[in-house]
């Protein structure tokens, strides 16, 4: 059963459909909220507020105007930005975020190689967190959710040229940040992809 079927049942007033809908979407919503707010508590609040807003506004959703996913992500991102405006928390450190996470097995699964790759990922995470909120959210939507610039523009409610611009300057800032000599790591040699 696709999201749209469940959404249609929710629109028809089926109370049981909301439970199914929550189970289907809560993980996606929470993870996106976590990447936007960078705080677990805020992400939990945003998840709850997102579903409450969906209950209130599901009748206004029109499938002909856009995909349901984009509509859902727009609610999450807007609520997340509200939380960011209200209180600017320090971002969760990499060790708290990716605790116990395992990198994909490499041909040469040496501990030091994995350790270097983890350091590299930590550097990327910190560099992404140093971007301003507009650029960071565009990066998250583009690279985490694989949304196109037009879809991101729909989510953020801005022209697609603005999204291109934000992504472009975000990439420039990341390249500059990650190739700084004091980082001690160059962009190419320790690339996770090169493992």
């Amino acid at each position: 059963m696709t999201d749209l079927d469940v959404v249609a049942r929710c629109q028809a007033g089926d109370a049981d459909a909301w439970g199914e809908f929550f189970n289907a979407c809560q993980d996606r919503v929470f993870k996106l909220a976590l990447l936007v707010t960078r705080s677990r508590q805020d992400a939990q609040d945003v998840t709850q507020e997102t579903f409450i807003r969906l209950i209130k506004t599901i009748h206004s959703y029109d499938a002909s105007k856009g995909s349901f996913e984009t509509w859902l992500y727009a609610i999450v991102v807007n609520l997340g930005r509200d939380h960011l405006r209200r209180r600017n928390r320090l971002p969760l450190p990499w060790d708290m975020m990716a605790r116990g996470d395992r990198l994909p097995a490499a041909p040469a699964d040496q501990p030091e190689t994995i350790s270097l790759a983890r350091e590299w990922q930590r550097d990327i995470w910190e560099a992404v967190n140093r971007l301003n909120d507009k650029q960071r959210i565009a990066v998250v939507l583009h690279y985490y959710l694989d949304l196109s610039c037009e879809q991101i523009a729909e989510v953020l409610g801005c022209p697609s040229g603005t999204v291109y611009s934000r992504l472009h300057y975000a990439r420039l800032a990341l390249e500059k940040e990650l190739s700084r000599p004091e980082q001690g790591l160059a962009l190419e040699p320790f690339s996770v992809k090169s493992l």
Binding site: A15, G19, K31, I55, M97, D101, V139, Y143, L187, V192
Partner: protein, 162 residues
């Protein structure tokens, strides 16, 4: 210079040129992998999920949302410690504050001296009143009582022999 740069940037945008260029592949791949790894292990805990479901159920029934419980042990601990510290601070006697000490020091020295001397006199009188009758031997007491009486004329003055 900035104006020219933004005009040129606008032209590139209009042409759909420079900003559409794909990023360098390693950075794009690493970004994607990093963001996915960041949230791979993160999910709602069962208690958090239950709390959200309860709020949604209340919303669907049109009832007010249930009050949010303490969301983590850290919240609960900090709230308890804060309460305990508040009660302790109210219950414990505070040491003399610098303001109170200043009041004592600011008393005039003469008043303080007269107070002290008056207190000493009172204390000595109390000691004499309580201690003297018990320590005075009976003959001396008789002698004192005799001496306190008016001496009739023509009798021997015994006090002059002491």
């Amino acid at each position: 210079m900035n104006l020219w740069r933004s005009v040129a940037h606008g032209f590139r945008l209009a042409r759909g040129g420079a900003n559409e260029r794909p990023p360098s592949p390693p950075l794009a791949a690493d970004l994607r992998q990093t963001l996915q790894a960041a949230v791979a292990q993160q999910s709602l805990r069962p208690s958090e999920r239950a709390a959200i479901l309860a709020a949604l159920r209340a919303e669907l029934m049109g009832a007010p949302a249930p009050p949010r419980p303490y969301r983590s042990a850290r919240h609960w601990l900090s709230a308890t410690v804060a309460c305990a510290l508040t009660f302790l601070s109210l219950a414990l006697p505070w040491p003399a504050t610098p303001a109170a000490m200043t009041t004592v020091q600011a008393l005039p020295a003469a008043a303080l001296t007269s107070d002290i001397s008056r207190a000493m006199v009172t204390q000595r009188a109390t000691q004499e009143a309580t201690v003297a009758p018990a320590s005075t031997p009976a003959p001396v007491l008789a002698l004192h009582s005799a001496a306190s009486r008016p001496i009739p004329s023509g009798t021997l003055d015994i006090t002059s022999h002491e």
